[in-house]
Symmetry: C2
Subunit: 566 residues, 2 copies
Amino acid sequence: MADVDHGAQRPLANGKARIDFQTAPENYRHWKLGIDGDVATLTMDVDEKAPLFEGYELKLNSYDLGVDIELADALERLRFEHPQARVVVLRSGKPRVFSAGANIRMLAGASHAHKVNFCKFTNETRNGIEDLSKHSGVKSICAINGTAAGGGYELALATDHIMLVDDGSASVSLPELPLLAVLPGTGGLTRVSDKRKVRRDHADVFCTTEEGVKGKRAVEWRLVDDVVPGSKFDETVAGRAKEFAAQSRRSGAPTGIKLTPLTRNFSADGVDYDSLSVEFARAGRIAAVTLRGPAAPPPVSVDAMVALGAEFWLLKLARELDDAILHIRFNELDVAAIVFKSSGDPAQVLAYDAFLDANKEHWLAREIRLLWKRVLKRVDLTSRSLVTLIEPGSCFAGTLAELPFASDRSYMLVGLRDGDNKPPAVLALSGANFGAYPMSNGLTRLACRFLANPADLDAAKAEAGNMLDAEMAQKLGLITFALDDIDWGDEVRVFLEERASFSPDGLTGLEANLRFAGPETMESKIFARLTAWQNWIFQRPNAIGDEGALKRYGTGQKPVFDTRRV
Amino acid sequence: MADVDHGAQRPLANGKARIDFQTAPENYRHWKLGIDGDVATLTMDVDEKAPLFEGYELKLNSYDLGVDIELADALERLRFEHPQARVVVLRSGKPRVFSAGANIRMLAGASHAHKVNFCKFTNETRNGIEDLSKHSGVKSICAINGTAAGGGYELALATDHIMLVDDGSASVSLPELPLLAVLPGTGGLTRVSDKRKVRRDHADVFCTTEEGVKGKRAVEWRLVDDVVPGSKFDETVAGRAKEFAAQSRRSGAPTGIKLTPLTRNFSADGVDYDSLSVEFARAGRIAAVTLRGPAAPPPVSVDAMVALGAEFWLLKLARELDDAILHIRFNELDVAAIVFKSSGDPAQVLAYDAFLDANKEHWLAREIRLLWKRVLKRVDLTSRSLVTLIEPGSCFAGTLAELPFASDRSYMLVGLRDGDNKPPAVLALSGANFGAYPMSNGLTRLACRFLANPADLDAAKAEAGNMLDAEMAQKLGLITFALDDIDWGDEVRVFLEERASFSPDGLTGLEANLRFAGPETMESKIFARLTAWQNWIFQRPNAIGDEGALKRYGTGQKPVFDTRRV
C-alpha cells in the first residue's frame, strides 16, 4: 500500500505510512498520566527525539500533532479508565519550562492543509478539557513552572485555574504575532478575550510583547489566577488540587473500563472496523462511511454495560467513527464528500438510546453520551461535504439520526428497490436528538435546523419513537430530498459529481458558514472567527513566503513584509 | 501630487488620482433617488460606461465600488434630506434584470486589498439599510423584476421585504461558489442563515445552484417573501410600500437639511477638513487624525440646529471623520497605525452631547447619533492599529471619548509639558458613552471593555460629567497607560515603530479578534466568520491563481483546482 497523502509536506518519522490517532499510555513518548486518589496528573515531558515527522526536534516541550494525539488519548483514558479522578493537574516534566508551544520548524515546513488540520485537532482537544470540567466534573489546573509560550500558554488557557511560579523569570506569553507573524492557533485570542475577559488594551499589549508577562501583572491583567513563590509552588498546587477535588460533583466509580485497542483493518481502498466501514471511491473523491447497528439488544443492566466495557456497541461505534473521521481528515485530503450510510435495525438503535437515557446518571452512560457529543462536533467541523443516504435496511435512528442532521444535505429513498428484500428506509427520532448532542453553537442540530419555525421542532418531537417513512420525514423537514428508485441513482450521482467539481476551498468556507446558524459560543467563535483569520494569515506571503516570518524564523534574517494593510 | 496607492491594481477611470467617497445626487451615474410623499424609491440603473476603474464595463446592473459609493450617499440623503420618507423601495431601472451583483472582471483584476476593502464597504452600506429600518423607521422593500444574482440578491437580503416577479424566469441566486469559487462577499450566507433562517440543507442547495431558485420554491424556502405575477407587480409593490409607510414610526419633519459638500484640502502629506485634519508621517507609516472641538457652544434650540444643518459641529465632524477613515482605508494602504488626537474644550464637547441628549426624540438629533454610531463602527472595523494620544489641550469627552475606547490602546499624559501652556489632559464621559454607540456586537465600547467586572462600568458611569485626569482615568481603567512627559516620547515612539515592524496581516487578524469580545450579532458574524473565510478564499490559488475560477471566468476555459480539501 502506497503512503497516503497526509499532506504535511514531510515524511512521517520511523517509516510510518499514515498518521495514526490510536495510542495507549504504555506507548506514550511525551506525556505521563498519573492517578493519586482523586487527583490525576498529566505531565508533559516531550521526547525531543520523537517527532511525528522527520526534520525537526521537539525541544523545550514544544509539540506537534503526535504530542497532541497522546494528550487527547490521555483525556479519554481519564474519562473512561479513571472515573475516580475529580481534578487533573497539567504540569511539565522539564525544569523551568512549561511548554514552548507548537514546534515552529514543524509549522514552517508543514503544508497549509496540515497546519489547518493540526490547529483544528488541538482546538478540539482543548475544548475537550473544558468539556471534562463542565460536564464530567473534572476540574483542571495548570501549574506553570517556567515559560509557557504560545501554544503552551493556550494549553493553560483551556484549564480552569492557572498557577504561575513567581521566580522572576517564569512568564506566560503569546509571541506568535511578533515572532512568527501568525496568530495563536489554539484558541488563545478568544480565550484571552472571552474566557478570561482580559481587557482589550491589555490583551493588545500582551499579544504583541514577545517576552510575555510575569508576576503580579499577570494576575492583575487576569492572564493567570495565582502567582506562587517557587518554594511553595508544589505544595500550593497540591492544596488547590485537593480543594477542587473536594468540590467536584463527579460521583465516579472506583474503577473504570479499559479502552481496548480498536480492531482496524486498513486496505488500499478502505478501513474496516467492527461496527463501521470506510470505503474510498477515489475516482469520485468519495468516502463512504457505513455504520452498522448493534448485533444484540442493549445489556440488561448498567453492571452488564460496565462488564462489556469498550465492547458496548454505542461506545465502540463512537470511537470508530472518531478514528475514521480523523483518518479521512488527515490522511485522505483528496476526499471531497463523506457519504454516511448505515445498516441495521433502527428499533435496536432506539433501544440503546433508551437504555442510555434510563441510566443517564451513571458515570459510564454519561461519558458515552459526552463522547458522542464530541465526535458529532468533530463531524460538524470536518471540512468535507457531508451527505447522508437513507436507504432500505438502514438504521438512522436516535443517536445515528444525528448524522443526517449534521450533513449538508440528505437523500431518502421512497419505497423499495426492485429485487431488494431489505425493509423500506425509515428515519426515527429519540430523546437524544433533543438535547444530548448540542453543536458548538449550543443548539441541538434539530433546533438549529428549525430556527425559522420552532413549531417544527415540536412537531418532530411529537414523532419521537416512530418509524418515519420518506414522505413523513420530508413532511417533517427532517431530510432534504425524498426520491424514488427511478430518480435516486442519477440525482445522487449528479450531486456527488458536482460536489467534486467545485472549489474545495470555496466549499469549506460555504459549509463553515451554513452549518452554524444561530448563536455563537466561545467554542464556535474559536472555530469561526479565530480559525478563519488564522487560515487567512497562514496563506499570506508575510507568514509563509520565502521572506516571510515563518520561513525566516531562526535563520538570523529578518522577515520582509508587504507593508500594505488589508 | 502623485497618484495614491489605492491598491486596486488598475488605474482609476477618467484620470482620477484617488478613490473619492464624496458625491451628490446631481452627480450620480448609477442610481436615482426619488421621493413621492412618504415613499422613497432607489432605482439602480448602472451606467455600464462609467466604471470606477479602467478595464471593464458594468453590464447588467453589475456594480463596483463607484456604484456602491452612490448607494451609500443616497442612503445618507434619505436620512438627512428626506425625513418625510417612511419606506424605501429598491428597484432596477433595467428590464428583466435586477442586478448581476459585483462585477466579476473588476474582482478578477483587483488586488487582494481592494477586494477586501470593497467587500467591507459594501457590507457597511447594507448594514446601514438595516439600521435605517430598525432605528430610523424607514422600512425597505426590494422589488426584483428579473435576475438578482450574487451581490444583487445580497442587496435584496439587506431589505425587510423581498418581492420577486413570477414570470417563469426571474430568480434569485448566489452563484459565487459554483461560478467563481468564492463566497458571496456581502453578507449573503449569514443573512440566508441568520436573518431569513433558511434551512441549512436548502441553503446548501441554493448556494450551489448556479441558476438559483424562482417562483413558489423561493417563497417556500424563505428566500423571498412574495412572488407576484408580472401584470400586478408594480401595483403590488406600490401597495406594500404604502402599507409599510403607514406602519412606520418615523415622525419625520416635512423638510430635511442639506448635506452640503465637505470642505476638503488634499495636500501631499495630509487632508484638511473644517473640524479635522489628517497628517501622514509616511516614513513611520502613521496617519495622525486630529479632531477639533466646537468653535461655539451648542445652538439654543433644535430649530437653530436645523438651521445650522450640515454646519452643526457634531454632524460635520462625523461626516469628516467618516470620509477620512475611508480615504485612509482605500487610498493609503501603507498606513500601519491611525493615531487619534484632539484639540479643544472638553466642556464644550460635553455641552453638545447634553444638547443632543436633551433633544434625542428630534429626528435630526437621532440621525446625528445614528451617524456617529455607524462611523464609530467603521473605525472599529478599520484594519489598522488604532491608538489615541490624550495630551494637554485635547477634548476626548463624551462622543469623542469613544475614540480611545475604540482604539487598541491609549496613552494619556500626566501633568503638563515643559513650556506648554495648554491645560493638562483630561478625559470625560457623558451619557453617550453608555448606550448611544453600540459596537457591532451590540455592546457599548465601555461595556465590552469591562466585561470582566461590570462594577467597573458602574464606577465609570458615576464619574460621567467629571473632568478626569490621567491618574483617575487610569484608576478607572479607561486608558492603557498614563505617562509623564519624561517617558511619553520614547514610549509612544517605540510603540509606533514596533507596530510598523509587525506583519500587517497578523495585526489585522489579531485586532479583529481582540476588538470584539462578548456576544455576536448577525452583523458581527458577517464581519468575523464570513469575512474572514472570504478573505482566506480570496487568497487561495483555486480562486485567484492563473488556473483559478476568478481568473478563468469568461475565458471559456474551465478552472483547474487543487482538489485537496483544507
